[in-house]
Every structure is written in structure tokens, then in C-alpha cells.
């Protein structure tokens, strides 16, 4: 038997009830993503690509179909078990950074560590190391408001990697950045991917998608 893919979606549906009318957001999506891939989920807004990312990131549950993460069906897991999986196996990067405004860059990177069993001093060392890796060794004590957009997104990327997850999910990571900064961020992602992390980026931007090794087009809730 060949080894399981990191992510395997089988006939996944997602339906929301909006004012009593069921609205299908995803229809019969089947997708496999192997460990170490760098995938761009592309598509116009409203295509369902963000919902797909949320399901992959265990923030949302499919209405129908199966999701196997590392060969393990996650649909039966409790909310707390999903939290634990997210904490240890998945890192998130968002369009609007979502840094805690009153915490320093270092404390922001340490955020996933609050919910991890790893010892505090070890997490701290790793956070400092990661911030240095994204080029912010001299900005560790800065608050988000003292950082540029590109710097904030680097903090967010360092944060996503704190617990050394297999999978990094990015939802429009360059959506609020200019093209030069976008390119810098995407090459950081490529670097992270080269170190063995699986990366899935949702974007509608062609330039951003071009950094990925594989492109998946989402349209009208299905994969083209």
C-alpha cells in the first residue's frame, strides 16, 4: 500500500443555510495533496476556495464527504481534539495578518505556544530563531503598529511555524501588500516549502499563484 497523502478529501460538500435556503458552497470536491507540495488554490471571490481552506485547516467541518489528514478521518473528532491538531500540525497565515495589537512581535510569534505542551523556554528560543529567519531579529520587541505590512506578515509566518507544523495554510497572504513586498513574502513561503513544509495558498492573484508548484482552480464550488 502506498503511503497516505497528507491531505485527502473525498466527495466533500459544504452547504450553508442562509435565510432557510440551503446554499451549496462546495460540491463534490475530491482532492489529494501530498507532503511537501506547494499548492495555490485559485479562483474568483465566492468560488468557495476560502471555505475549502477552512475545511482543510480544521476550522470548519464538511456537510458531507470525508476528510483524511495523514490517512486519519477527522470528521469524528471533538472540537478540543481539532484544536490540538490545529495547534500541532497546522500553521495559519491570513490576509490581514491578525497580530494581537497589544503584544510584541515576539509574543505574537509565541501565541500558538500558549496552547502547546512544549516547555516555555524552548518555545521562546524557537520564536527568536524564527523571527531572525524571517529577517526581524531587530524587531522582536516592536508592537505590530510599529511594523510595516510586509514585516507584520513575516511575524505571522514565523508564528505559523512556531510549533513546527507539517502544513501551512495561507489565505490571501499578499492581499494587503504591494507587489514588491508580495514577491518577498512569497519567496519566504518558497523557502519554507524547500525546507519540507507543505504549503497551501489561497489567492486570486496570478502573480502570487505563480510561486506555487501546483495550481488548483476552484470555480463555483467545484474543482475544475
Amino acid at each position: 500500500m502506498p503511503s497516505d497523502p497528507l491531505i485527502r478529501l473525498e466527495h466533500v460538500d459544504k452547504t450553508y443555510r442562509i435565510a432557510e435556503t440551503p446554499t451549496a458552497v462546495l460540491r463534490d470536491v475530491s482532492l489529494e495533496i501530498g507532503a511537501g507540495e506547494f499548492v495555490a488554490l485559485q479562483g474568483p471571490s465566492g468560488s468557495g476556495k476560502s471555505t475549502l481552506l477552512h475545511i482543510i485547516g480544521l476550522l470548519d467541518r464538511p456537510t458531507a464527504g470525508r476528510y483524511l489528514l495523514r490517512g486519519r478521518d477527522v470528521s469524528g473528532l471533538s472540537d478540543d481534539e481539532l484544536s490540538g491538531l490545529r495547534n500541532q500540525s497546522i500553521g495559519f497565515v491570513f490576509q490581514s495578518f491578525y497580530l494581537i495589537p497589544y503584544a510584541t512581535a515576539l509574543d505574537n510569534v509565541l501565541l500558538p505556544g500558549l496552547y502547546s505542551p512544549a516547555p516555555q523556554h524552548q518555545l521562546r528560543q524557537r520564536a527568536e530563531h524564527l523571527l531572525a529567519q524571517v529577517g526581524l531579529a531587530d524587531r522582536m520587541r516592536h508592537k505590530p503598529s510599529q511594523l510595516s505590512g510586509g514585516q507584520q506578515q513575516r511575524v505571522a509566518l514565523a508564528r505559523a511555524m512556531l510549533n513546527d507544523p507539517d502544513l501551512i495554510l495561507a489565505d490571501e497572504p499578499t492581499g494587503q501588500l504591494d507587489s514588491k513586498t508580495s514577491a518577498e513574502i512569497m519567496s519566504l513561503f518558497a523557502e519554507v516549502n524547500a525546507n519540507g513544509k507543505t504549503i497551501i495558498v489561497v489567492t486570486h492573484d496570478e502573480e502570487t499563484a505563480s510561486h506555487a508548484k501546483r495550481r488548483v482552480l476552484v470555480q463555483d464550488g467545484t474543482i475544475a
Binding site: 476550522l59 490540538g84 490545529r86 491578525y98 494581537i100 501565541l111 500558549l114 505542551p117 516555555q120
Partner: protein, 428 residues
């Protein structure tokens, strides 16, 4: 089947370790937020502090009142009663109040079992005292029979008590209270000196110890009086000679006070020839009745303070709950983010509850400081006596925690129940 050893294991379970870690790490998150929202935190602290301050005063005052009550029993003497002419309950109908006579006093002393010291009480108010070039007005000259100091459990610091002979001879002698002694003599000893009470020269033979304010509040000092033989007082100041305003009786065996009171009452009724259907024409007051009266007065203050404290605490709680709800809705983005990063509902609940607990604990400390300050002010004004204790500290802390848990749980739970995706969107 769990092995027997596992029932006695001393190492904490992984669940307990995980909870401990969660609680510990939630404190960092909580403090970050508290410092970030300083004004809001200050409001909660203030609201809680007011509640705790009121609570502090009430507890301190209750303890103070209890101690005061004990002092009163001591001062009044658990073995003594006061008899007043006239019936307190019927005074409004204009009943005669001069009903106690020398004969009554003698009869009680002779024929009432257990009674051993009967001291009639008569007094002259507002008399000017003079010594050399100094003078002051004493609010009260008290007439007494022999052994005033003993009868009132009021020690003399100098000199001697009024004697039987003083009373028989209507001797021009007096005991001097602490206040006039200081006023007229300064640091000198007053013993043997002759002062003028009104126009009457009297020799000071004894000095009463400092006693402070009368129990029961009101800030009335008992130290500014002069004591003189009853006979001297009635003859020289032209007072009614037959009747007394009051009589003080001391009994042996104070544990039989109930019986003493009953026999005292029936003796007086007999002496006054009162029929079975007639009300008493006298009133008997014992230490326990003074206590009852005092409890009634302080009880009123306690109820008022209690309601105030309760209301203030509830207001504090609501302020806390409201600001936490505001905080939760404003920090949706943070909550969504924390959940995405792996925070469980418990983690989020712990964080917001920790914020609430820290705020109320700081409020409690501030409130206690405020309460102790205000209590001391009230004590200075003679309105209350306060007493501070460890119990007070623990009770204040416990109520602060209770406020945090009762009023903080709902907002904390609502934060924990948020859907991470919705919360992240709501933060935009």
C-alpha cells in the same frame, strides 16, 4: 481495572498538568489584555473597589460593635441593674417619674436577697467649677452614697472613695473626673485641693480613671463629671430630697440575674402598693437590655451598610460583566485567532476569567484600603468603631473572586463559544 497503586499515585495526572499549564499561561494573555485596555480595567477596578470598600466597613464595624458590646457589659457590670422612676414604656402619658425613695433604697438593700450595693443616683447639671484662676463647666455633678468607684467598676487613680461617713455628714468632698482634673490642675495632683462647685467649696478626695466615651456611641464623655455625696448634693443644691431619679443595685451571683430581676420587681411593686392590674411605675435596666438597645441602633446602621455593600458589589459585578462583553465583542479577531492557533474553549474561558479575577482582586485590595480609610474616618467621628482582622481580608478577597466568577463566567463562555471563522471575520 486500575491497579491498586494507581489509586495512591502522587504524580499529577496528565489532565491536571495540562489544566495547570493552561491556567498558568492564561495569566500572561490576561495581563497583556488588561494593560492594553487600561481605562476599561480601571473602571472595573473602581466599581469593584467601591463594593469591597463598603463590605470592608461593614465587616470592620460589625466586629467593632461586637467588641463594644462586650465592653459595655464590662462597664455596666454584668452583676448590676439600674432602676429608674417611671415606666419607660408609659412615659409619654405623663406618668410620675419621681417614684423611687430612700425607703425603697433601704428596703432593697435590707430585704432583697443577693443585693449588696444600692447606690441612689441624683445629679445636678451644668455647674461651673473653679480652681484658682481656672474654671470650666461640668455637665454633671453626680450624687452618690458610699463606694461609688466600686459600685460602677470605675477605678480611682488617686485618693480615696466616698465613704459612709461622708454621706452621713454631708461632707464637702468630691471625686473628680479625668477631664476636669486635667482642665483645672493640669499635671498637678488634685487630691486635697479645694475647688468651687458653683458657690460651694469642696475638697477633692479622689480622682477617677480615664474612661473615654460612653458605650453606645453619641460621643458623650463620662470623664467630665464630678462626684459628691448624695446628701451634700441634695442639701447644697436644693434638690428634691425625698425621691431619686435612679437607683443602681449590684447583686451577688450574677448568673441568677433573671431571678434577681423578678424579685426586685415584685419587691418594688409591693413597696409602691401596686395592684395586679397596674403597670410598673419604675423601669429596670440590666446589661443585657442595654445591649439589646445598642444592637437595635447599630443594627440599623448595619442593615443600611449591608444594603449599600450588596448594591455596590452587584453594580461592580455588572460593570465587570458589561465591560467584559464589550471586550469580547471588540476582541473577536483575537479570539478567532487564538482558536485557529489551537486554543480550546477552556483556554479562552480561562483567559477571560483570569482577566476578570485579576481586575476584581486589584479592586478588592484598593477597596479594602478605601474601606479602612473611610472606616477610620467614621471611627474618628464617633459614628462607628471598626476592627480589622484577617477574616476581613479573606472575606473581601473571596467576595472579589465570587464577583469575578459569577459575573465573568457568562462573557467568558460566550467568547469560548465563538466560531473561529465567524470570529475572525467579525474582527475586520
Amino acid at each position: 481495572m486500575p491497579s491498586a497503586a494507581s489509586w495512591f499515585r502522587t504524580a499529577p495526572s496528565p489532565e491536571a498538568l495540562r489544566l495547570g499549564r493552561s491556567v498558568l499561561r492564561a495569566q500572561g494573555a490576561a495581563w497583556g489584555a488588561l494593560l492594553a485596555y487600561k481605562l476599561r480595567s480601571a473602571f472595573v477596578v473602581l466599581a469593584v473597589a467601591l463594593g469591597i470598600a463598603a463590605l470592608t466597613i461593614i465587616i470592620a464595624a460589625v466586629d467593632g460593635a461586637r467588641r463594644k458590646a462586650l465592653e459595655i457589659v464590662e462597664w455596666f457590670g454584668p452583676d448590676a441593674v439600674l432602676i429608674f422612676g417611671g415606666n419607660i414604656e408609659n412615659r409619654a402619658v405623663g406618668q410620675r417619674t419621681l417614684t423611687l425613695t430612700w425607703d425603697d433604697a433601704r428596703a432593697i438593700e435590707r430585704s432583697l436577697p443577693g443585693a449588696y450595693l444600692v447606690t441612689p443616683m441624683r445629679a445636678k447639671q451644668a455647674v461651673t467649677l473653679r480652681y484658682e484662676n481656672r474654671n470650666m463647666v461640668t455637665p454633671l455633678i453626680v450624687g452618690t452614697t458610699a463606694d461609688y468607684a466600686q459600685a460602677w467598676n470605675w477605678p480611682l487613680v488617686e485618693g480615696r472613695d466616698i465613704t459612709e461617713e461622708d454621706v452621713l455628714r454631708s461632707a464637702k468632698v468630691c471625686l473628680i473626673g479625668d477631664a476636669p482634673a486635667r482642665e483645672l490642675f493640669g499635671d498637678e495632683s488634685p487630691i486635697g485641693k479645694v475647688i468651687l462647685a458653683g458657690d460651694l467649696p469642696v475638697q477633692v478626695v479622689g480622682r477617677l480613671a480615664y474612661r473615654g466615651f460612653t458605650p453606645g456611641g453619641g460621643g458623650v464623655s463620662v470623664d467630665d463629671r464630678l462626684i459628691m455625696p448624695l446628701t451634700t448634693l441634695t442639701q447644697r443644691f436644693n434638690l428634691e430630697r425625698k425621691y431619686f431619679r435612679g437607683l443602681r443595685v449590684k447583686f451577688l451571683e450574677p448568673e441568677l440575674m433573671e431571678d434577681h430581676l423578678a424579685s426586685l420587681k415584685s419587691l418594688l411593686r409591693h413597696l409602691h402598693k401596686l395592684g395586679d392590674d397596674m403597670p410598673d411605675d419604675f423601669s429596670v435596666i440590666s446589661a443585657s437590655e442595654v445591649l439589646k438597645f445598642l444592637t437595635m441602633i447599630t443594627g440599623g446602621i448595619m442593615v443600611f451598610l449591608g444594603i449599600t455593600a450588596g448594591a455596590a458589589m452587584i453594580v461592580g459585578g455588572f460593570v465587570l460583566a458589561n465591560l467584559l462583553f464589550l471586550s469580547v465583542s471588540e476582541r473577536q479577531e483575537e479570539i478567532g485567532l487564538r482558536k485557529a492557533m489551537g486554543a480550546t474553549s477552556l483556554d479562552i474561558t480561562l483567559q477571560f476569567l483570569s482577566e476578570a479575577v485579576w481586575l476584581t482582586l486589584i479592586g478588592a485590595v484598593a477597596g479594602m484600603a478605601l474601606g479602612i480609610g473611610m472606616g477610620q474616618l467614621l471611627a474618628k467621628l464617633g459614628l462607628l468603631e471598626i476592627r480589622l482582622s484577617m477574616k476581613l481580608f479573606l472575606l473581601a478577597m473571596a467576595s472579589a473572586m465570587a464577583i469575578a466568577l459569577v459575573f465573568g463566567l457568562k462573557p467568558a463562555r460566550s467568547a469560548a463559544a465563538m466560531d473561529p471563522i465567524e470570529a475572525l471575520r467579525g474582527g475586520k
